[in-house]
């Protein structure tokens, strides 16, 4: 027993991180968006020679791109959030998640000890961690609520 205990003993690298697109600084907004589309990602991390310099998400597309057609050909650097808050893969999972909540971030890039991006921490990580602890209650459910019969085949 004790989920708090368990989470306290996990590092960020033990969590299920979310996938992201990676683009080099200077890439145009249009190219970035197309890459995110092709890779089915909601978040792009912008790097310069391997080092993270910014983050660009679907929320930025909503606020800064879709209604301003001239943004399309500009470098992504102009619309991204520069120098985002990051955590490292060896940070304690619980601390990282608390920090993320406190600062109201939805995407927190994860770096390795050399400062290279290795993942993207989102709320999914906590939900997935929790679900993994209770597969019977959380994974083993019918496709729709109540789509379950009282007369059982087995037990």
């Amino acid at each position: 027993m004790g989920q708090k205990y368990d989470l306290q003993h996990e590092r960020v690298k033990h969590l299920d991180l979310t996938q992201y697109s990676q683009v080099e600084s200077g890439t145009t907004v249009g190219e970035t968006v197309n890459k995110m589309r092709a890779e089915h990602r909601n978040c792009a991390l912008v790097t310069q020679k391997g080092k993270l310099v910014g983050i660009f998400t679907d929320r930025d597309v909503l606020h800064k791109v879709v209604s301003s057609p001239d943004a399309w050909n500009k470098p992504v650097d102009e619309v991204m959030t520069p120098n985002p808050f990051t955590v490292t893969e060896d940070d304690k999972a619980e601390t990282a998640l608390l920090e993320m909540n406190k600062r109201h971030f939805r995407n927190v890039p994860v770096l390795d000890s050399n400062g290279h991006v290795v993942g993207n921490l989102t709320h999914y990580a906590l939900i997935k961690f929790y679900a993994d602890q209770f597969p019977e209650a959380l994974y083993n459910l019918p496709p729709n609520p109540n789509q379950i019969s009282d007369s059982r085949v087995g037990g």
């Binding site: 368990d6 679907d58 791109v65 879709v66 602890q133 597969p135 083993n140 609520p145 085949v153 037990g155």
Partner: protein
């Protein structure tokens, strides 16, 4: 033929049948992943068929909104083979279990694997007969005490992957129903393989054999007991990836990476032409103190049976002309049996009304599971209703507004989801920031002249306020929903829950304890 984009979603694969597995059965997670993976394959629903035998797992086809046959005990591979040979355009999945596939159907399974017909076989292994209420099965470990083996079973356990290797199956994989992402990946790989794909899924029967796979699925211990296979990579495992497998003579052994260099470890090759490496892997069993491999054991390209058969048929037709089936039937002694007893066939009252016989619930066993609240209860209850999470008011607009207006609304309130309703206030669809990214930006020049209707998602999966937190976490963890819309009984949007809200709720409850 013109290319049509299918745009199927998981909902397209959900049937309207009530699911009759026990609450909490591992079969549900397998169903959910199948419904998640199939829309990605780009195959029309009507070209997909699920064929099963008999057993709990074999009810699977009812719950998939595709063609399907709940067939004869152990015989799913035979029906599937026939179907695939007559209509090779279909994607045919076989759903079987350890009892159905390895006991009564063992022979069929072996020969199907040997022939390499392009079928996708998923074997749900729970090491027990569930449907018939708990007798030991071919995969039960020796010593398993059940109703049919009160003093412990004596039979050595069947090793499904070893058998598959032995008969030369061209695609062999193993996964666990609790390992949802990995399982989805194995289904994808199986779907893309040309030839027979065989996937063994560790599935928990919580009524009759609860915890049979605990060593391989419990998040606290599994990383020490299983090893994820990666093609062309050394065999490394452990939570901190600090152990590996080295070959000592002809025996694999566990070594610590503190003492042994990575270069000494066994390296995995999925496409090794002979089966020796996969056989090694299949022999790594928990009961022998070895970590059990999870992933693709073997994936090789070999000629596919139906292609060769069809070539022979074409050749035969070319050489001898098209045959006449009628003529073939009547060429030898044939006679007609007169029906003297007409009127007596069929309706003798024994289930003749076409209804599916219903097996009653065995209260004795259901009680065991559902009165036992002790062991794995989380701090907050997954049965909390969604209203206890204080869902936010959703942003609502008429479905007749323009794309420009919809985007303006999301922008002004800085939210990710807009619920769109018809004239009666009922949910018609949703439009999200994800849609802006994926479909709109850069593609639409005049936002104000374009109706949002053309870009909204219809057929939305919405929950109700009195649905449980478990349902929300299910959608978010398995299907990666970032928002869940709540509707009332009249399908009017009444709330929205973001993954952030759910994560906060979980975390607040961690903190309190």
């Amino acid at each position: 033929m013109t290319e049509v984009t299918l745009n199927l979603t998981r909902k397209d694969f959900v049937s309207d049948q009530m699911v009759r597995w026990c609450p909490g059965c591992g079969d549900y997670a397998i169903l959910a992943q199948m419904q998640r993976v199939l829309p990605e394959l780009g195959i029309p629903k009507e070209d997909i068929v699920f064929i099963s035998g008999i057993g709990c797992s074999s009810r699977f086809p009812y719950y998939m909104d595709t063609y399907g046959i709940h067939s004869i005990h152990g015989r799913a591979p035979t029906l599937a083979s026939g179907l695939k040979l007559t209509n090779p355009n279909l994607q045919v999945w076989v759903i079987t279990g350890d009892g159905d596939g390895l006991s009564i159907g063992g022979n069929h399974l072996i020969h199907t694997l040997r022939r390499n017909i392009d079928l996708k076989i998923i074997l749900f292994n729970n090491r027990i007969y569930g449907l018939t209420k708990g007798q030991y099965s071919p995969t039960s470990l020796p010593g398993t005490k059940t109703k049919s083996s009160p003093m412990g079973s004596i039979d050595p356990a069947f090793n499904p992957t070893a058998v598959a290797v032995g008969v030369g199956a061209t695609f062999i994989a193993r996964t666990a129903a609790t390992d949802v992402k990995h399982m989805a990946e194995m289904f994808r790989r199986a779907a893309h393989h040309k030839g027979t794909s065989f996937v063994e899924v560790y599935q928990n029967c919580l009524i009759f054999n609860d915890g049979a796979w605990d060593y391989a699925t419990n998040p606290k211990t599994k990383h020490e007991n299983i090893i994820y296979l990666e093609d062309h990579k050394p065999l490394i495992f452990g939570k901190n990836k600090d152990k590996g497998i080295r070959l000592n003579g002809i025996h694999p052994e566990v070594v610590s990476l503190d003492e042994v260099d990575e270069s000494e470890l066994m390296v995995h090759y999925e496409d090794m032409p002979d089966g020796s490496l996969s056989y090694f892997l299949s022999q790594m069993r928990h009961e022998r103190g070895m970590p059990e491999p999870m992933g693709v054991f073997r994936c090789v390209d070999e000629p596919v049976y139906e292609e060769e058969v069809l070539q022979q048929i074409d050749l035969a037709i070319e050489q001898k002309g098209k045959g006449d089936l009628q003529q073939l039937f009547y060429q030898a002694d044939t006679w007609v049996v007169e029906d003297e007893s007409s009127g007596q066939n069929g309706s003798n009252g024994q289930g003749g009304n076409g209804s599916v016989p219903t097996l009653g619930v065995d209260e004795e066993y259901v009680g065991v599971v559902f009165n036992d609240e002790a062991s794995s209860e989380p701090y907050f209850s997954p049965t909390d209703t969604l209203s206890t999470l204080n869902p936010r008011q959703p942003l609502i607009a008429s479905q007749d507004i323009s794309l420009g207006e919809a985007i303006q609304k999301l922008h002004n309130l800085d939210v990710g989801l807009l619920a769109l309703v018809d004239d009666n206030g009922k949910l018609a669809g949703v439009f999200t920031e994800g849609d802006v990214l994926r479909k709109v930006a850069g593609n639409v020049t005049d936002l104000d002249a374009t109706p949002v209707k053309d870009f909204m998602t219809t057929n939305v999966t919405a929950l109700k306020e009195d649905d449980t937190l478990a349902q929300a976490i299910h959608l978010m963890s398995i299907h990666k929903f970032r928002h869940i819309l709540l509707v009332d009984d009249d399908n009017r949007p009444v709330g929205v829950l973001s993954s952030r809200r759910v994560a906060h709720y979980i975390q607040d409850n961690f903190a309190e304890n």
